[in-house]
């Protein structure tokens, strides 16, 4: 986590102008294998450095993994609310923790709408409401994981619904972290709807703001070659 010292400065330059946060939807492009580290860096920046309040939506794995990571790395979760959409389908026990809201999983078409419903709900479900006006950021992990549970049309609707929800909120910063090679269709949808673009490669210490990407370079995938049946050498050798 030492790298976050520099990254905090980079995030400060990117997400803030004259000490005022820049709101809106930000596509953060990074390798999937660095997703955990990038998410923790973002959470550390918003929660620890900037003392902001936010929401962390988990689709790909139960929230406990992120909660453990934040604890181990000394990042307070006092100002973080988890929306856990995966624990109910993965057999995890629903912990009675004040900062976690469990919702029915990503099989359901409107689960992102449910978040808004939870946040705006009053009356009987008042205790579960989240005051979105108090929130400064929202982070989703991992929006591309929706493809595990939904057909393409359903995924597109959910993504648009999520971004529509963000646009209704004027006071929120919403980084959407995605690997450009992970899912082209999702990447293009999100790219077209985001306001700003950031490229991060932690392993190579690359951190740069990008223009809206126009050319998508496909990742080269090695395909298995046809099986051959060469005989081993007659003696020794191997």
């Amino acid at each position: 986590m030492n790298e976050t010292i520099d990254i905090a400065k980079k995030f400060m330059e990117f997400f803030y102008t004259a000490n005022s946060p820049q709101k809106g939807k930000v596509l953060v492009v990074s390798k999937y294998a660095e997703r955990t580290r990038v998410n923790i860096c973002l959470l550390k920046f918003f929660l620890h450095e900037m003392k902001q309040k936010g929401i962390f939506i988990t689709i790909d794995r139960p929230h406990q993994y992120t909660a453990s990571l934040l604890t181990i790395h000394g990042i307070s979760q006092e100002n973080l609310v988890y929306i856990d959409a995966v624990s109910r389908i993965s057999g995890e026990t629903e912990a009675n923790v004040s900062n976690v809201r469990f919702i029915n999983g990503p099989y359901e078409m409107n689960f992102l709408d449910d978040i808004t419903a939870i946040s705006f709900a009053g009356g009987a479900v008042k205790t579960k409401s989240i005051d979105l006006d108090e929130m400064n950021f929202i982070l989703i992990d991992d929006i591309a994981a929706l493809t595990k549970y939904q057909e393409a049309d359903g995924v597109k609707k959910m993504i648009h619904s999520y971004i529509d929800s963000i646009e209704r909120l004027n006071n929120i910063t919403a980084p959407i972290v995605l690997d450009a090679n992970q899912n082209r269709a999702i990447y293009e949808i999100i790219m077209n709807r985001c306001d700003r673009f950031l490229f991060i490669n932690l392993s190579k210490s690359i951190f740069k703001e990008m223009n809206r990407p126009t050319h998508l370079k496909r990742k080269k995938v090695l395909m298995p070659k046809e099986t051959s049946f060469a005989k081993p050498a007659a003696t020794g050798g191997y």
């Binding site: 294998a33 955990t36 580290r37 923790i40 990571l69 181990i72 090679n181 298995p224 003696t235 191997y238």
Partner: protein, 227 residues
């Protein structure tokens, strides 16, 4: 609209071509074989290849063999960059812990180390030793371990010692996403080493035995062609 699966390179020449470019990320892979087939070398190359790309690798040894002894033999391999040790390749000896800890404590310790380092590559070498300490708790422990390792978002290689007349340790194979078998066979008077990908979920992997060699210069190298 299905995801294009992220893959991490194996670090072993000739293996990635067999499995569509690398191990699915995240996943748990069993590398099984009898003593002397090169399981530890195979895993070291996996960790050091990740380190070359800036990834973090975590190596748990379960044999109470201190890391210096693991490295004593590995240091013969010229292609392993020793400057990664302690930075991007981290060694952790859990042998002593296995003698007295409960399954929950072992799992919690592994969880904490993986979370602390945020490793993308994890090796437990060998996993089969744990069975001797856990007895009937071994199978549920394995399922929990595999689930946790994938949720930590790592490609994890578990090595398995193979008993005589056993193809692979079945409990681990069942829980794993991939199974790579290392064997040696006598062919025309010479004992030769082979690897075979028996299982790799989400992957059109090549089947059949592949001959391999281990040299000081290049380490573990799979030769082209199927035998």
């Amino acid at each position: 609209m299905a995801d294009e699966m992220e893959r991490l390179c194996s670090g072993v020449d000739g293996v990635d071509e067999l499995i569509e470019g690398g191990y699915p990320y995240p996943s748990v892979i069993l590398v099984a074989g009898p003593a002397g087939t090169g399981k530890t070398t195979f895993t070291q190359q996996f960790l050091f290849a990740g380190a070359e790309m800036g990834e973090i690798g975590l190596y748990f040894t379960t044999l109470s063999e201190p890391p210096q002894w693991v490295m004593h033999y590995m240091s013969n391999f010229k292609h392993l960059n020793k400057s990664h040790i302690g930075k991007n390749v981290i060694f952790c000896d859990i042998g002593q812990m296995l003698r007295k800890a409960s399954p929950e404590e072992i799992l919690a310790f592994i969880d904490e180390e993986v979370a602390r380092t945020m490793a993308q590559r994890v090796v437990i070498d060998p996993i089969t030793v744990i069975k001797e300490f856990l007895g009937n708790d071994y199978r549920p422990f394995l399922f929990d371990l595999v689930n946790h390792l994938k949720n930590w978002r790592a490609v994890s290689i578990l090595t398995g010692e193979v008993e005589p007349n056993q193809l692979y340790p079945s409990e681990v194979a069942y829980a794993s996403d991939g199974v790579v078998l290392l064997t040696y066979e006598e062919v025309e008077g010479a004992r030769r080493k082979y690897m075979e990908v028996l299982k790799m979920r989400g992957t059109n992997h090549r089947t059949g035995k592949q001959s391999f060699v281990i040299t000081k210069e290049d380490g573990f190298v799979v030769l082209s062609g199927t035998f």
